[in-house]
């Protein structure tokens, strides 16, 4: 068992970084340097945590870095952190997303505020991923909306206010159902265990006894909240507008990271706390996931700008994650967790390159581009790698996760998996078509003048490419950390689901 201070550091470091960045805001560029420094430190700490974790608890599949301190007994508020293989992967992703979006999505307008919001967002997201108390999770989950809102409305495109507001209202209203559900469970538990005080500890709430219909309604509420974030079809309509209007770093944070908060919540809290309900609801959520895969793919085909394109392709990918989470199979859930990470990395690649194109042409309209492979071969090669990983080409990271999801789901719900396999075809259609329109053909006019990726731009994408290739060829170290935790989780859920 390791000290929970490591996790505390992960939450506090970015917040301190934000403060320091604001303190040095008068000196030009200083806040950026501070932010990058703290982000690098955060990545290092997250990797240290990953190494410490692996050496001890991996095979037990239990929680590490555990600590629970009650903050306010009457309110049931507690600081309660713990880490298993699933949250570990999300922690590393959170740190990487911050680091890469700072390096590749630099925005010089009001820079101190920009980097501070990014750092704050990271601290809050870290908090959500390591929370082992449901109310604590909710607070972090909900607070992430604030920095997101300001990043979109402050540094976004022409329709930024509308996009920011839509995003805020959408996810905020949806999470009201989550809050109601959490409170209900807390009070129900207190009612059943009069001697213990009000608590929202994960372990406690998972043993709350409930009638089946109530549990199903709670699940629906949870699914609404997490489904709006993930997104699950049809709760996705904020995402195309928001991704398109957000600045590069904002789009990355939203799709690579915050969407995962939705999937993570669905897995840990909806499935984990309501095991019996999820069994009855499973076919419906699986169906929504399959619809999302096909629907997202179809709309990606007709998307007119590159960010909306990625938004819809993300809907399809996130639906694959939902499919895996709801599969009830260790293989499927492991694939889903791995895809949460892989999709994050791949999406960073996409949005960074789109950001580079936007710098050059001040446009993200697909129709404005053609033949870029001629003037910008390196950039198109980098895009190709992200594209092929997203298509699920074996040897690159996307394949392993997608394959595990499909084969895992097939063992429990063969028909859903068989239809979802059409997504494998669909992703090739929309991605290759977009690639053809943007990079193939003859470059003329402004397109012929597009500069290839600069040295800095290439270096930012190196970690992305390395992760895509390494996790495709040798995913074992990562899978070995996820699988035991997922196996325990799935077994517990299955036992509890059958028992109730």
């Amino acid at each position: 068992m390791h000290s929970s201070l490591w996790l505390g550091a992960l939450i506090v470091l970015p917040l301190v970084g934000a403060m320091v960045a604001m303190i040095v805001r008068r000196r030009p560029g200083a806040s950026y340097v501070v932010a990058v420094g703290f982000a690098t430190l955060e990545v290092v700490v997250s990797l240290v945590v990953a190494l410490l974790y692996s050496s001890h608890v991996t095979n037990a599949g239990t929680f590490d870095f555990v600590s629970r301190r009650v903050v306010s007994a009457p309110l049931g508020l507690a600081y309660d952190v713990a880490l298993d293989g699933v949250s570990l992967l999300m922690v590393v992703l959170t740190a990487l997303v911050l680091w890469l979006s700072l390096l590749g999505g630099r925005d010089r307008r009001r820079e101190p505020a920009f980097v501070s919001w990014l750092l704050i967002l990271t601290g809050l997201t870290m908090g959500a991923f390591v929370s082992h108390d449901v109310l604590e999770f909710f607070v972090f989950f909900e607070l992430t909306l604030v920095p997101c809102y300001f990043i979109i409305s402050g540094w976004g495109g022409r329709e930024r206010s509308r996009a920011a507001l839509k995003f805020f209202l959408y996810t905020f209203s949806a999470s009201a159902f989550l809050l109601i559900g959490i409170l209900y469970m807390g009070f129900a538990y207190q009612h059943q265990h009069p001697t213990s005080g009000l608590t929202f500890a994960y372990g406690a709430l998972s043993s709350t006894a409930m009638s089946h219909p109530v549990a199903v309604w709670l699940f629906v509420g949870f699914a609404l909240a997490f489904g709006a974030k993930a997104p699950i079809w049809p709760l996705h309509t904020w995402s195309p507008l928001t991704y398109a209007e957000a600045p590069t770093a904002g789009s990355i944070e939203l799709s690579a990271l915050l969407a995962k908060l939705g999937s993570y919540g669905l897995l840990r809290f909806a499935v984990g706390l309501l095991p019996a309900a999820q069994v009855s609801v499973r076919p419906y959520v699986l169906t929504l996931a399959v619809i999302g895969i096909l629907y997202g793919s179809i709309l990606a085909c007709v998307a007119k700008d590159l960010k909306r394109f990625v938004a819809y392709s993300s809907l399809a990918q996130m639906s694959f994650i939902t499919l895996g989470i709801m599969s009830g199979s260790t293989i499927g859930v492991t694939g889903a967790v791995l895809l949460m990470f892989n999709h994050g990395i791949i999406t960073i690649g996409f949005f960074l390159i789109i950001g580079f194109l936007e710098r050059r042409r001040s446009s993200i309209q697909i129709a404005d581009f053609t033949g870029l492979q001629g003037p910008a071969p390196v950039m198109s090669a980098l895009f190709t790698i992200a594209m092929l990983a997203s298509i699920g080409l074996p040897g690159l990271s996307g394949f392993v996760s997608e394959y595990l999801i499909l084969i895992g789901t097939f063992t429990t719900h063969a028909w859903w998996s068989a239809v979802a396999a059409l997504g494998v075809l669909a992703s090739a259609v929309y991605l290759l078509w977009a690639y053809q329109r943007v990079f193939h053909g003859r470059a003329e006019g402004a397109n012929a003048q597009v500069a290839d990726a600069s040295g800095g731009e290439r270096w930012v994408l190196v970690p992305v490419v390395v992760l895509i290739v390494v996790l495709g060829v040798f995913p074992k170290p990562v899978l070995d950390r996820i699988t035991p935790s997922v196996h325990n989780f799935v077994t517990q859920v299955a036992t509890a689901g059958a028992f109730k």
Binding site: Y149, T237, S329, I407
Partner: protein, 623 residues
């Protein structure tokens, strides 16, 4: 051997990495040398491995490299299986690849993307070898997809040409349809046998019910139709001719497109469980062979004729698989690799000499200008036409006599196809090498020139192989033949009644007569004609309207669906509902609207404070 065999794979990958990492510091010549050298070395290693395997008692060696994926009950090692089937495949893949690499160093000289071409080519060889050497279906899938993506890159090599870009995409997407089949086959096998290694599956075939086995076989067939360009997914292959000609020879004739046949043969122990599945395979193969042959009779582009000819020949191989004649299928695959690579490279030499012209109406009379291309092409032509003693005669005869034993109507269709094959190939030969010289306009009155040695040497070697390839599996050499060597890897198929020598001779005679009819017809018609509306049916020229039908039935309805999804479902229904909800809330309070207009920051913070207040309030009330 266990130390040597992985080198077969690693060498081409090494070539790829060497060029990627030192791309800038190497000259074009150096790149060509490295790329060709590693593949040639890989061939040498394959030969050594082959000899070692011959002396191995079990003739089945699994070499574990590392654990690739291992989750719960799913274990996928990165491991290779060296057995007679995989080593036969590796031998001709590396051998022909080495020749085509050499050819390409001259053919692609001066191209802007010379290095990139060889990068893709080396990566292709690596993928193809992964496909055939893998010891499990998932690793085969790695190679399967790898060759697909290399094909995509190489077909759209001239990416500034719209048609090339579209052809590359079409090839990949059609292949992906087939890939779904391979995925589903894997899923079914995993659920029922709990393993995905070939040997594991074969030892637990008893766990597969007949119905499941049939489903698996049909899914595998779908995979094969995509990769091997069979009905209903064959029409990407002619478009793929947009790629440089060496690519057409290597990927779209000799190696990648035969992967589907390889997969079926590899899975023959599962095929053995489903006679209805095998029947479907046979029908698909026989019909594809015939349909593609009719199309080939009406094409004007020399490469298109060869492309449809490839589809047709692979149809024969699939037909052979369907009747359980796996040895014949591989025999035809190997000899087809020889003569079709020869024909493609020969046509490349022709195209090269005419400065890029591919229309046969603008060729003619090239025999005297191309002193090496002409005789080697002649060997290829006679071989594919089924004239003894060239390899094509033996291989096709082997397939047809096996089909005769199982299914008479399909045999008859096969013979008709043989007539058509001899006919369209002779037409191509006549239009290209005989008759009047119609190319002067294209070459600006210059004389065509023979290609350099790097291009003609592979032609000579391939011509020799096409001539002698029949020796691999002569019908009377039962003791030491390809089929005998391969047979331990095949699934059991009930042997048909032994054919008498008289019957075999009779069948061979039928084949010869079929070839002669085709040759004669073509000589009569195409000695004088260059075009003929009677003999080049528009229906055949337009590929039986196959693409038009897909457009009408699939593409356009899907486009329509996409538009409707976007305009109506997404924007009006789903988002309309959301906006409507939001709007009504907004209208209900003027204050909120004001907040939205001017006080966004406070608004957001108020929301968060709101959460806290709600929590405190609820908690307080319950207490």
């Amino acid at each position: 051997m266990s130390h040597l065999a992985p080198l077969i794979l690693v060498l081409p990958l090494l070539g790829f990495l060497l060029v990627v990492l030192n791309g800038k510091s190497l000259s074009d010549r150096g790149v060509g040398l490295i790329a060709t050298g590693v593949v040639a070395l890989s061939f040498v290693v394959t030969v050594i491995t082959f000899v070692l395997l011959l002396h191995d008692r079990t003739r089945e060696v699994t070499i574990n490299l590392f654990t690739w994926i291992s989750v719960d009950t799913l274990h996928v090692p990165a491991a290779i299986l060296v057995d007679p089937l995989s080593i036969t495949m590796s031998l001709f893949v590396t051998g022909i690849s080495a020749l085509i690499h050499l050819y390409s160093t001259a053919y692609m000289e001066g191209e802007k993307d010379f290095r990139k071409f060889f990068l893709y080519l080396n990566l292709f060889v690596f993928s193809m070898l992964t496909l055939v050497l893998a010891n499990n279906l998932v690793l085969t899938f790695v190679g399967w997809e790898g060759v697909g993506v290399c094909s995509y890159w190489l077909v759209s090599f001239y990416f500034d040409r719209e048609s090339a870009a579209s052809a590359g995409k079409k090839a990949f997407v059609y292949n992906r349809v087939g890939d779904i089949g391979l995925l589903l086959a894997m899923f079914l096998l995993f659920v029922h046998t709990h393993t995905l290694t070939y040997l594991g599956i074969f030892s637990s075939t008893s766990l597969l019910s007949p119905a499941i086995a049939t489903l698996v076989v049909l899914a595998l067939l779908l995979a094969a139709t995509g990769k091997s360009a069979q009905i209903p997914l064959f029409n990407w292959l002619p478009d793929a001719m947009e790629g440089p000609t060496p690519v057409s020879a290597l990927i779209h004739a000799a190696t990648m497109v035969t992967a589907g046949v390889y997969l079926l043969v590899r899975m023959s122990p599962v095929l053995a469980l489903s006679s209805s599945g095998r029947m479907t395979i046979a029908v698909i193969g026989g019909v594809t062979a015939f349909v593609a042959a009719t199309i080939a009779t009406a094409q004007k582009d020399i490469k298109k004729v060869l492309a449809f000819s490839t589809v047709s020949q692979i149809g024969y191989m699939v037909l052979a698989v369907g009747v359980g004649a796996y040895g014949a299928a591989i025999f035809l695959m190997v000899s087809h690799a020889f003569f079709k690579a020869l024909l493609f490279l020969g046509s490349g030499s022709v195209i090269h000499s005419l400065g890029g012209e591919q229309d046969m109406r603008k060729m003619g009379g090239l025999a005297r200008w191309l002193p090496l291309t002409f005789p080697t092409f002649l060997v290829g032509w006679l071989s594919i036409s089924g004239v003894p003693p060239f390899s094509g005669f033996w291989a096709k005869g082997d397939v047809l006599s096996n089909v005769f034993a199982h299914n008479k109507p399909l045999w008859a269709l096969g013979v008709v196809t043989a007539i058509l094959t001899a006919y369209y190939m002779s037409r191509l030969f006549m239009l290209t090498f005989r008759g009047s010289e119609r190319f002067r306009e294209v070459t600006h009155q210059h004389d065509p020139h023979e290609s350099p040695l790097a291009m003609t040497a592979p032609l000579v070697i391939l011509a020799t192989l096409s001539l002698l390839g029949g020796l691999l599996d002569l019908p009377w050499a039962h003791g030491f033949s390809l089929t005998r060597f391969l047979s331990p890897t095949f699934g059991f198929v009930a042997p048909s009644a032994a054919q008498s020598t008289t019957l075999q001779t009779g069948l061979a005679l039928v084949d010869v007569v079929a070839a002669l009819i085709g040759l004669f017809a073509a000589f009569t018609i195409w000695r004088t004609n260059v075009e003929s509306s009677t003999f080049e049916r528009p229906f055949f020229e337009h590929v039986w309207r196959w693409d038009d039908a897909y457009d009408a039935v699939l593409a356009r309805p899907l486009e329509h669906l996409a538009q409707v999804s976007n305009d109506v479902v997404e924007n009006r229904i789903i988002d309309g509902a959301v906006e409507g909800l939001g709007g009504s809330v907004q209208r209900s309070g003027e204050g909120i609207r004001k907040l939205q207009a001017g006080l966004v920051r406070q608004y957001a913070l108020a929301m968060v404070l709101g959460v806290t207040v709600i929590v405190v309030y609820l908690v307080g009330r319950v207490r």
